[in-house]
Amino acid sequence: MQEQTVTFRILRGTIVNDKLVQRTQDFEVPCDATTTVLHALEWIKGEIDGTLTFRRSCRASICGSCGMYINGRSRLACKTKVNDILAGNVAKNIAPAKDGVIEVGPQRNQPVLKDLVVDIEPFYAKVKTLDPFVQDGPEKDEHVTKDSFSQVNMVSNCIMCGACYSDCTAMVENPDFFGPAALAKAYRFVADPREGNKTERLKELSEKNGIWDCTRCNMCIDACPKGVAPMEAIVKLRSLAMEAGITDNRGAKHAMVFKDDIATWGVLNEPFMLLKTAGVVGALGQLGNALNLAKVGKIPNPFPFDHKVDKLDEVKAIYRELQENPIDVRTRSDDSGPGAG
């Protein structure tokens, strides 16, 4: 990308008499191949308009300050290159911007304080209610091994940037939902051998506003700049909770009905859900033929309960296979080794 002038359309906001008043404002910003959205915002603030307000600190996608809504998704301004947004970038799953305009607004699902700054209090309040610290208790295991934290590694990459929370669809329906980051953080403790109250935690997480409120829309996985994949953590928490016999709640019952339906009838109303879950837990390979059949569409009818599927025996085979070779829901993320100093 040559040096060129790019239009930034920024959603500005101020609180007037306790009410948020928003308007868009355009700025023409000189950009080249290395310009990030944060560079551009800094340039605008320094050269054109010092009133433009946003958070930032590390400029290296590690502090989580600069989360904002950029061309249709929550992203980190310091990690987002203007060129990728303009031209699109398949590898980064970015579609080209329409009209060649960079659109920047505050994160969603949170009250706006000013311009691109949102109130992070509710987000953190939820994390705090989940007791985010290793606790002593009966299930504490002091013995840790080299791969004890393979579970913990992925979720402890979280920088609390709020991108997942901002894009979460369940949050729109239920603002009290704990949200993806808090639940990923909760998984960090459930997965830590040194945690003493794993089952207690799973019980709490199975209650209202917890793991069963997620609609599994995948948005948090797409939004997360650190590869935390909160939805996967939520799915794992669900499985662990059910394994621990915490089934006396709407979500778990729902899941069990689903399971029974499929086992009996071979249908459920979200045929892809199973696949997705199985894919997420990385066990497709183990299931071999049975699941491969399912994959190519042997669970054909998305409308439940009207008839049994043709090859029910194959569906049953999937279940048999699963029963004999239970999936390790705790996917692993290897220690990435030491980095720079």
Binding site: T34, K45, E47, C58, F149, I159, G341
Partner: protein, 566 residues
């Protein structure tokens, strides 16, 4: 007015570790941070933290490496304390739940780091600082520590010769608050933003250090600023030493390697200061492009680059627009760490201002002397966070700190007037903060950076004087109260200008080359005259004065100055 027993400014590793001690002792302890604690710059540290945990290691070796690395101006009592307490400090973090990487047998994994004789650097994958910071934050929630998130330090207040608290601004509303405390701890980190090219977060502006100096505390070692050889040329983002470990070459504009001229044996793998100086020499001799030279990995081949250096490749593509498979990466020496800070005794207490403590990068207990060893600064934060925290508890419960100092409401008015004055200045005929920041940091980089000389430092001082004059007419566009980051960055710039002046003065004063200070006009280390700290103090009129403070020694013949060869 708000009252606490212990007030800690800064919620990075040092501040949070100190707070842990205050709360655990049952004292009313509060932490103020201009950004959310988890955003603190400590989160950026990847490499690790040193501690002689391995039974085959010995903290005395760690201490020896540190004394030598510091080029013999580190305080030996502090160094002994840090290294002997290190294993326990790391084990404390582990017990709090920090997910350190493990060896096969479950012990904390450790690896080798520069300038040390044993692999004693513990790490949590490639995010050690992040993992430790999250752990201390978790503990703060567990203990119910009061944290003033997004409150900006405006002034450290005093009552006679004693610190009495602080004036802080609630960033969300712009409202000023007076906090009174029996002990005040500064843990606001370093000021690497003073240099145009740096690896630091944008919030590393040395606010606490500048305010402590204004309140009457002394600073020391400000001339010692560490430059990492390979920051990306444009952004300063760190390219790990590991790339040279994989066999990367440093080449100039002419495409030729040059390290054989400077370090014929170790070549690209010579120590940080040697490599930084060599690169800068090449750049000054016209063998650079746009102020940088190049890190070349092309000869390693596409496969190895993709397999072993994927992140480095991505950083180069993202931030320099260069794919290292086809083109060399533009790099230049980049400011990484500020060794200087608030001068304290080995417990972290200021000797000039009673009741004032400091810990972490903001402090100068002087464990780093003229040159910090990699992975010793995370260690400093957790060891001295803990020690200083405990000492504050003792000060407040058993010593002079039992009595509460008085706060003066006039301080709020003064700060309030200062902000009003800033907002009242017109754009017309005023000075723009982005302009000041640019010429000041460029001058610091060029004239007070890797190489220094009397002439160069005089140029740097010219820029400082210009900045001081311009700060009198600096204006802000944002005249509102709520979340006024325009005002905050202007105030941060004011702090940087003070630290620039003090740094340049100390660099002029030290007429020798030692550790990170390299004077072209005084190329030799001068042990007869310069095994001493240069201190900097500010008088009530804002005038800076330099002084001297002896290097604290212990009776250990091994610590006698010797030539630093690796």
């Amino acid at each position: 007015m708000i009252q606490h027993d212990i007030l800690i400014i800064g919620a990075g590793l040092a501040g949070m570790r100190a707070a842990f001690e205050g709360i655990s002792a049952g004292l009313d302890t509060a932490v103020v941070s201009k950004i959310h604690p988890l955003r603190s710059h400590s989160c950026a540290a990847q490499g690790g933290v040193n501690a002689a945990i391995n039974p085959k290691d010995d903290w005395r070796h760690h201490a020896y490496d540190t004394v030598k690395g510091a080029d013999y101006v580190g305080d030996q009592d502090s160094i002994d304390l840090m290294c002997s307490e290190a294993p326990q400090a790391v084990l404390d973090m582990d017990a709090m739940g920090c997910p350190f990487s493990r060896e096969e047998d479950g012990t904390i994994a450790q690896r080798a780091f520069g300038g040390q004789n044993f692999p004693r650097t513990a790490y949590a994958a490639d995010r050690t600082g992040h993992a430790m910071l999250h752990t201390l934050w978790e503990q703060a929630i567990k203990l119910g520590t009061k944290v003033y998130d997004e409150y900006f330090l405006m002034k450290i207040t005093t009552d006679g010769g004693r610190a009495s608290g602080a004036i802080v601004m609630d960033v969300k509303t712009g409202k000023l608050h007076q906090i009174n405390a029996k002990a005040v701890c500064i843990a606001t980190g370093g000021y690497g933003r003073l240099f145009a090219s740096n690896t630091n977060a944008m919030t590393n502006t040395g606010d606490g250090l500048a305010h402590a100096m204004r309140a009457g505390a002394a600073a020391a070692d400000l001339e010692f600023v560490q430059f990492h050889p390979t920051g990306l040329r444009n952004s300063g983002i760190l390219i790990s030493e590991g790339v040279r470990g994989e066999g990367a070459y440093l080449i100039g504009k002419d495409g030729q390697r040059f390290m054989q001229k400077y370090a014929p044996n170790k070549l690209e793998l010579a120590s940080r200061d040697v490599v930084s100086r060599s690169m800068t020499t090449e750049i000054m001799n016209g063998n650079g492009v746009n102020g940088g030279v190049f890190l070349d990995v092309r000869h390693l081949g596409r496969d190895l680059i993709l397999e072993r250096l994927p992140q480095i490749r991505q950083l180069s593509i993202d931030f320099e627009g260069v794919d290292p498979i086809d083109q060399p990466i533009p790099v230049r020496p980049t400011c990484h760490y500020t060794m200087g800070g608030i001068r304290t005794n080995k417990m972290g207490q200021s000797e000039q201002l009673q009741g004032l403590f400091a810990a972490g990068e903001a402090a100068c207990v002087s464990v780093h002397g003229a040159n910090r060893l990699g992975a010793n600064s995370l260690l400093e934060t957790i060891v001295f966070g803990k020690i200083t925290g405990k000492d504050m508890v003792d000060f407040v419960t058993n010593r002079e700190g039992r009595e509460r100092p008085k706060s003066d409401a006039g301080d709020v008015q003064e700060v309030s007037a200062q902000i009003a004055q800033l907002k009242a200045r017109p754009r017309e005929g005023g000075a723009k903060q982005s302009d000041i920041r640019k010429y000041l940091t460029e001058a610091m980089q060029e004239y007070c950076g890797v190489f220094r000389s009397a002439e160069g430092l005089a140029q740097a001082m010219d820029a400082v004087n210009r900045a001081k004059a311009d700060m009198q007419k600096v204006f802000v566009d944002d005249k509102t109260d709520a979340f006024n980051t325009d005002v905050i960055t202007a105030l941060e710039l004011g702090n940087l200008v003070l630290l620039a002046e003090a740094t340049v003065m100390a660099a002029i004063e030290r007429t020798e080359s030692r550790g990170a200070q390299s004077r072209i006009d005084y190329p030799k280390r001068d042990d007869a005259n310069w095994i001493v700290h240069i201190t900097s103090t500010v008088d009530p009129n804002g005038k800076l004065t330099l002084g001297r403070d002896a290097v604290r020694t212990v009776d250990n013949p091994q610590y006698a100055p010797a030539e630093r060869v690796y």
